[in-house]
Amino acid sequence: MQKLITAIAGRLVIVVPYLWLLLFFLVPFFIVLKISFSEVAMAIPAYQPAFDLSQGLAANFEKLKKLSLDNYQWLLDDALYFKAYVSSLTIAAVSTVLTLLVGYPLAYGMARAPSTLRPTLLMLVILPFWTSFLIRVYAWIGILKPEGLLNQFLMWAHVIDTPLTILNTNTAVFIGIVYSYLPFMVLPIYASLEKMDYSLIEAAQDLGCPSFTAFWKITFPLSIPGVVAGCFLVFIPAVGEFVIPDLLGGSQTLMIGKTLWSEFFSNRDWPVSSAVAVVLLVILIVPIVLFQRAQARAQESGK
């Protein structure tokens, strides 16, 4: 009896998260998918249901035949969408590289800090999460705007005479993404550096490597799993980022998150915006699968 209970409990522990995923990921996804096949309507909700279970099977079958790929065709026809996807991917990629350039030295410094100091440093990296993401992005407006803190400081230091235009440009978007996603880059790299055995570096030096060479030949290759994880953790959400380009970016900043938002709320075209979302998901599946593979491989060789 006792055994049975533990067995059931064991199953439950596994089943519950999957139920959760089913309920809050797959079901909404299928709703979006369904909407993306429908036609737009001036109504609430703002689409003509492609099928409706209350009308019986036969009626639904008729509707199923009428299922249209029109919305997807629409995405292909209008170059705006294609540009938005490409631009999103580019901005996300550039931001990921920038985040890596900032995050790696930070993680390295943390991993090499005295072990008594490390928990504090780790805390400091996580600390920004204690305030709302939205508020932190708003704060950047205050820093980057023409009469903002940054320009005031640079002018006070006589580095510049006229204020720099940073806000409402892609630069501001990069700054925003790098700032917001830095912890996601730092933490996995730190984890992989921290568990590295320092005697490997000593061994490399012993065999004739100056410290810098030892870094490139030993430390960096061994931290690659962390780098890969960090890059995906930044890249994947950055592609669909909406808040940062909306608040910090300008009118020329083209990102798919913004496009989706305006289709949904400004144009009230739910079917097209759903199609935009579905295509975004499909695009992101490639890096997600790559990420899973890399994780599995890292786990394999870590043994």
């Binding site: 055995d197 065999l207 490597c209």
Partner: protein
């Protein structure tokens, strides 16, 4: 000619006053904060010597090697290699290679890659590297494992890779920090002889750290016994065993009975000691200058004590009676623990030279233990 133990090879530059030491530690001290890991230590090691550092955990053995390899700088004193002061020379420019206590194999490189690492660093030509790597793989018998990663190897194989990697550069000095720590007894004994062979063939100078005294005795030309950052004695294995310089060394190496007593009569070359142990008078050969009444210790190894039921013919000295308290059978020999009537224990061992014994000694037997005048050593410290 009389000597301690048997000779392995005729090699004793330390007895030659003209010989120049290859590695020289001069009053080296290393402190970590207010903790002194190595304390005013001086030591000479000669070219082509197989030198072992022996001592309890934490006594500073690794620290000593790490200073020679360049990972730590001495707080004071200096280290000379072939007459050159090593201070300030970074590890990657010292002609010294180290085999790490943890092996420190590069996990992302194959066995080949690990061995070739140091050679590539030296800018050696590709063909030469390949040849050397092949040679090293053959030396450590890992030819068929060349393409494996370290995590696909057994502990013993990893240890061999670490050895091959450290030897590949043909360093003048090879430092080995507990090289055989992870191996089982049998593989360990095999590898000990392989190491000795390798050292001899390549003509290198080895400094080996070990916990295991048998290992040190088997392999080394000389042994340094360390305690709390100091060297207690440097001598050949046989000397360390048969002529320990102090109680500490006698006790640290092998089994020993240490009997305390006061000098009764000090003559030339001989001494008579009244042992604190009940009614035991010790007569022993000694070259030490002792004075009457002086407190001394008599150190005697168990295998140099005779044990039997019969009372020795002359039981007035070097003989005492007791009860057999414990018997430890080791196959090749048996160790008897004899409890004297005042409760003191004396260990005596005997070789099991025959398979069957008539009327063997057994628990609670009354026995006599006795020894010769040259069987033990009088120690004053």
């Amino acid at each position: 000619m009389e000597s301690f133990g048997s000779f392995r090879r005729k090699f004793a530059p330390w007895d030659d006053p003209a010989a120049k030491p290859y590695i020289r530690f001069e009053n080296v001290t290393k402190t970590f904060g207010d903790f002194t890991a190595v304390n005013d230590l001086s030591l000479d090691v000669f070219n082509r010597e197989f030198f072992a550092l022996l001592g309890a955990s934490g006594c500073g053995k690794s620290t000593l090697l790490r200073m020679l390899a360049g990972f730590e700088e001495p707080t004071s004193g200096r280290i000379l290699l072939d007459g050159q002061d090593l201070r300030g020379i970074p590890p990657y420019r010292r002609p010294v290679n180290m085999m790490f206590q943890s092996y420190a194999l590069f996990p992302h490189m194959t066995v080949e890659g690990n061995i070739a690492f140091g050679l590539k660093q030296d800018g050696m030509a590709k063909s030469e590297i390949d040849a050397r790597v092949g040679e090293m793989l053959k030396l450590v018998k890992l030819e068929q494992f060349a393409k494996r990663k370290p995590h696909q190897l057994s502990g013993g194989q990893r240890q061999r890779v670490a050895l091959a990697r450290a030897v590949a550069k043909r360093p003048k000095v090879l430092l080995l920090d507990e090289p055989l720590g992870a191996l089982d007894k049998k593989l360990r004994e095999e590898t000990q002889f392989e190491l000795m062979d390798l050292q001899y063939k390549l003509g290198l100078t080895f400094m080996v750290v070990t916990h295991d005294q048998e290992e040190a005795m088997t392999m080394a030309d000389r042994i340094a016994v360390m305690d709390h950052g100091r060297i207690m004695q440097v001598a050949t294995p046989a000397e360390v065993y048969e002529a320990p310089a102090s109680k500490f060394v006698a006790d640290f190496i092998g089994n020993v009975n240490l009997l305390e007593g006061a000098v009764e009569k000090a003559g030339s070359g001989e001494v008579e000691i009244a042992a604190a142990t009940q009614g035991l008078t010790i007569r022993a050969d000694t070259s030490k200058a002792l004075s009457s009444g002086q407190n001394v210790w008599f150190a005697i190894r168990p295998e140099k004590i005779r044990i039997g039921r019969e009372k020795p013919v002359d039981a007035s000295f070097n003989a005492v009676e007791g009860e057999l308290w414990d018997i430890a059978y080791f196959g090749d020999m048996t160790v008897f623990h004899v409890r004297l009537d005042n409760g003191d224990l004396i260990k005596a061992s005997s070789l099991n030279a025959v398979r069957k014994v008539e009327n063997p000694l057994t628990y609670d037997d009354r026995v006599w233990v006795s020894f010769d005048t040259d069987a033990g050593l009088v120690l004053t410290a």
